[in-house]
């Protein structure tokens, strides 16, 4: 996994820690809806399923997954740029 580039600033942060499938995916989709194209969403999650779901969703939905990082405290950060 790539380390988060500290230069990238997220426009919105979605904290989905503790939620399991499908809630992280639903909330990600909802949050991306009201962002402008090019804006960046940061998602924090603990569900291992999200590691497959979020990249797949980004690839198929035309959004760009900029970074994925496993944080030492036991959760994962995703940076998604809306397409």
């Amino acid at each position: 996994m790539n380390a988060i580039d500290t230069d990238i600033k997220a426009d919105e942060i979605l904290d989905a820690r503790g939620l399991s499938c499908p809630m992280p995916m639903l909330k990600t989709k909802k949050a991306l809806k009201h962002l402008q194209s090019g804006q960046i969403l940061e998602v924090l999650g603990t569900d291992p399923g999200s590691k497959n779901d979020i990249p797949d969703f980004c690839q198929k939905g035309g959004n760009t997954l900029l970074e994925v990082e496993d944080v030492e405290e036991g959760y994962t950060r995703y940076l998604i740029q809306k397409g």
């Binding site: 989905a16 995916m25 639903l26 909330k27 603990t46 399923g49 939905g61 030492e72 405290e73 036991g74």
Partner: protein, 398 residues
Amino acid sequence: MNNTLIQGITEEIKQGYQGAFARKWPAWVGGILIAVLALMIFMWSVPWGIAAGYKNWGDWTLYLAGIQSARPDLVPWMHNLSVSNIGIIAGALASALLSRQFAIRRAPGLEYAKGAVGGILMGAGAALAMGCNVGGFYTAAGIFSMGGYAMMLGLGAGAYIGLRYLLWEMEHLPQKTVSRMNTDTGAVRVRDWKKLQPVFGMFIMIAGIAAFYTYSAFDLTKIGGLLFFGLLIGIVMHRSRFCFVRAFREPFMTGDSDMVKAVAVSLMLFGFGAAVIKWNWIQPPEMGVYHPFWIGSLAGGLIFGIGMLLAGGCASSTLWRAAEGHTKLVVALFSFAAANPLTHALINYTGLKTALGSGYFMPEILSWQIALPVFGAVMIAWVLLAGWNERTEKFVIF
């Protein structure tokens, strides 16, 4: 020379481990392996199901709590589908540990409530349909019981209603998240634990295989075999994240059709294999066809479908997700197990049983020659519809 051989083999083992427990398995690989294992279970003893195992656990819980007076016939380690469920939990737990993905995952309060209600609905739905997403849908359709198709429609409709609720909930019931910001020492503990996980995973695998030999030593090879098949199903389901809920939900949620294709391919393979087994009388043709067509299967599917959306797991994925450490799914597992025998008792008590329908064996009505292509056509139609929906998003409601 000797050194390079050992180095080479060590390298191979490392790569094999990476492939099995680090890289993700495509859903369709999971689907094919599930079909093979379901066929093995069918030839070994009975058509595969999960809800009957939950019922055994629920029967015992209710008996020990003094709610049910009759002592269940079989103890959980002697009941065939209870044993295969235990195998699935053990296999998924071993797989999660070997993948370094096991963690006790706490959830916000509302999620536990959804797990409990979802479990109750699944337990009730599985009683009405005489089977869950596996026994009532997958196995039923695959062994040519008409109830499987009615339950399939019910599950689709239930998934739609359940998703509508989740969307409503997102707008109206904001949740607090569970933030566990550990101190520095906590982070070190997490790191050490991650290193140790595969050791525990290996230990569970070895214990599972030892249990099979123990059953065999007591002349119970048939029961022990189910534990072994369950173990493999648990690993396959966990690694490929094979999920029936996803197959029914995703066409309405993101439009993604991957899991629909995986389930349909799996079911087609299982169905044609089951036809070989039944048509050739390896197992009796009428085996396992009692699924109350169509009211019980359809209504059961609908209720089960809503429940699996709330819980975030069906009968099978509740087992492997609970084993991965999701405490919400542990709650769902318990409420499923308790609600299922209670609903069965209610159905018997009210005399509703005959009204729900009876088992119809498709080849008996249509002949094998027609039943086989009808079965294949339904599966292909499902795949094509889901693929078309992925491109057009016609059914996506969000």
